[in-house]
């Protein structure tokens, strides 16, 4: 059903009320926001989704798409030039280390995807249960958790990730998993807060109270009723956090923390190397990895915000056309001139 409706007053033919169809498929559930949105909103949502899918595609098939591997510095035994201008062999030029910029940018999508998926999964796995428990159990457990999470939340998130990455790299190892854990530290408090808040409000909802009155155990209530309800707000945050996580990953890479250059191609690291190039007027080493970040983050943000606009009914603004009133089609006007007839 489209939101824009033109109305012509024909009272004789009431609109045929379709019984609500019960659609169980997950596909149609995913498609729902796209159907409900409209206009500019829909355009932004669809564009965001398409670009995100493109990046995911690029990440998965990086070895097939990229001309070389991210750490290739030669082809057929011939070394690439360092800081070489875009050419037939290296369409986006080469870096100061003589790597192919195009290949590194494409492989960067793969690194980003890996880290972001891990980080979001970790944060969900920790933040959602903690939020549910805190919100449902309440009491001192809740108070302590809130205090810790608020403290973490107030902390500049990049600094938090920096410290986490610094400590983890020093004590454990570097690499994709460790970087993902460092980013997780940043997002756990966010999931915790959102889930706890919606748990608190859902807890007081009548259906939960009814379940409790019927003697359902707390475990059942949390697992069956609260979880299902609270989880609805997660896709939006997860998408927005994924966007944010790409930025944090790039920030860490730019500062030389997290993933080491020989482990994977990382956009932030490449940009760090490009600083000195900028002084020499070399633009290609900065532009392409940078565009990778901007496009990926923008696309995910568009999806997240679009979903939010559609799924969150309080923000939803209906755009409906003014109805056209055709007087003749409606019943008679009610009686005028009451007073004048009195006399």
């Amino acid at each position: 059903m489209t939101a824009t409706s033109t109305v012509t007053g024909t009272p004789d033919k009431p609109p045929i009320a379709e019984p609500p169809k019960r659609r169980g498929g997950i596909l149609s559930k995913i498609a729902q926001p796209y159907k409900q949105s409209h206009g500019i909103q829909r355009f932004m949502l669809v564009t965001g989704t398409l670009v995100s899918l493109l990046f995911i595609f690029m990440a998965i098939f990086a070895p097939l798409i990229a001309p070389f591997s991210f750490d290739t510095y030669q082809s057929d035994g011939v070394r690439f030039p360092t800081q070489g201008e875009p050419s037939d062999l290296n369409p986006w030029g080469t870096t100061v280390q003589g790597f192919d910029v195009m290949s590194r940018t494409i492989y960067g999508a793969r690194t980003a995807l890996e880290v972001v998926v891990l980080a979001v999964a970790f944060s969900l796995a920790i933040g959602v249960p903690l939020g549910l428990i805190s919100g449902y159990v309440g009491g001192w457990v809740d108070r302590i958790l809130v205090l810790i999470m608020d403290a973490l939340f107030a902390f500049p998130y990049l600094l938090l990730a920096i410290v986490a990455a610094f400590l983890l790299t020093n004590t454990i190892d570097s690499g994709i998993v460790v970087t993902a854990i460092a980013i997780t530290v940043v997002y756990v408090p966010q999931y915790f807060r959102v889930v706890r808040a919606s748990t608190l409000s859902a807890r007081e909802a009548t259906y939960i109270e009814a379940a409790r009155a019927m003697g359902a155990r707390p475990r059942t209530i949390i697992g069956k009723y609260l979880f299902g309800n609270v989880i609805q707000s997660v896709p939006v945050i997860a998408t927005l956090n994924a966007a944010d996580a790409i930025l944090t990953l790039a920030g860490l890479g730019f500062l030389g923390l997290g993933i080491q250059p020989d482990e994977a191609a990382e956009w932030g690291y490449d940009l760090q190397r490009a600083i000195s190039d900028a002084g020499a007027g070399i633009w290609w080493t900065a532009l392409f990895p940078g565009l990778g970040i901007v496009l990926a983050v923008t696309a995910l943000t568009l999806v997240g915000e679009g979903l939010n606009d559609v799924l969150n009914p309080t923000l939803r603004r209906r755009r409906v056309k003014k109805p056209v009133i055709s007087s003749s089609a409606v019943g008679p006007a009610s009686a005028p001139e009451v007073e004048s007839e009195v006399g």
Binding site: S5, G9, K322, P323, I325, P332, S334, A335, P336
Partner: protein, 340 residues
């Protein structure tokens, strides 16, 4: 007989919605004489508030309208937005339902008054404006010492009195009060109603008092219009209607009113109809205890049942009902119509 200060002619206000047009107001004609208080009663969702906003031209985007709202010889719905805006306040005022949220929380009471006075009476000096505002507040029993305070420092009843003072400070000819006491407790309600009832004595202000409380109508109104599903089904002098209603809906509504003499609760079965696809013909027929077969087929004519009274019901023009259609509407049909 004085000319009406405001007269609605076949006013229709429909909202665009995803399912189709919501016919919130659908063919209403009503007059308001100078200094007169007219009560507009009906259940929630019958279009009362929409009508009230339509009267001062305060319709949301996405609302279509037809018909006329005549004020001083011009249809205000046809006016340019700027002209209409200049009339809102000094000519047409409005008092809203929930006083708690109607004042800007960041502006002092004084700022609210000075803002409207500056807009509509720019020649007034600051001091004169202040005096006018103080006078209006004093009239509502708000001490002048509280002039410089913020809205949140007042109780609900006081805020509603401030809202009234804010509407009256410009001395409008017509004031629409949209359920001004619904959000307030009973004692405050009585106070506000007394203030509104005093209006017609002290000013020449015509008041359209929207309410679902028939007690208020009996107490404060000269005339009443009973609204059902976007239509005024009965109108007439307040005393007559609250004692001898002639439309079945008014009668049922009156019976549902709880008073001290109430011994058992009465309610009208069914719910107000869906305004996107209202019942054909008389809109009340699915719920009407007196419904006849004709009621589901033809619009009832409007009949003057007594001087100054009008009722839109077939009961009053039984002689015009074609043979056979005056049989009571059958129960199955009633139930089916209700479900529709």
């Amino acid at each position: 007989m004085a000319d009406p200060v405001l007269s609605l002619r076949d006013l229709r206000i429909w909202y665009g919605a995803e399912r189709g047009a919501v016919r919130a107001v659908d063919g209403v004609s009503l007059d308001l004489l100078p200094g007169e208080t007219v009560g507009l009663v009906g259940e929630s969702g019958c279009g009362k508030s929409t009508l009230g906003r339509g009267v001062i031209g305060l319709l949301p985007a996405g609302a279509g309208h037809a018909g006329e709202v005549n004020y001083k010889g011009q249809n205000i719905l046809e006016l340019k937005p700027k002209r209409l805006r200049a009339m809102r306040g000094p000519e047409l005022g409005m008092i809203f339902q929930e006083p708690m949220t109607r004042l800007n929380p960041l502006m002092k009471i004084s700022d609210h008054f000075e803002e409207v006075l500056k807009i509509h009476e720019p020649k007034l000096s600051r001091k004169e404006a202040r005096n006018r505002a103080m006078e209006a507040l004093r009239g509502m029993g708000i001490p002048p010492t509280r002039y410089k305070q913020y809205p949140h420092e007042f109780s609900g009843g006081m805020r509603q009195r401030i809202m009234i003072a804010l509407a009256l400070v410009l001395r409008p000819a017509v004031v629409v009060a949209d359920e001004p006491t619904t959000a307030l407790d009973v004692l405050v309600e009585a106070q506000i109603i007394r203030i509104l009832a005093d209006l017609r004595r002290n000013f020449d202000t015509a008041l359209l008092l929207i309410t679902h409380n028939l007690g208020i109508v009996a107490e404060a109104c000269d005339r009443v219009a009973v609204m059902y599903a976007g239509r005024v089904v009965e109108q007439g002098p307040a005393y007559d209607i609250t004692t001898k209603p002639s439309h079945p809906y008014s009668r049922e509504l009156l019976r549902s009113t709880i008073s001290l003499s109430t011994t058992e609760l009465h309610s009208i079965p069914g719910a107000p109809p869906d305004l996107v696809s209202p019942p054909p013909a008389c809109r009340f027929h699915p719920r009407c205890p007196d419904a006849m077969q004709i009621c589901a087929q033809q619009w009832p004519t409007t009949v003057a049942t007594s001087p100054g009274r009008r009722s839109e019901c077939w009961l009053h023009s039984k002689d015009q009902i074609p043979k056979g259609l005056d049989a009571p509407l059958e129960r199955e049909a009633l139930a089916a119509a209700e479900e529709a």
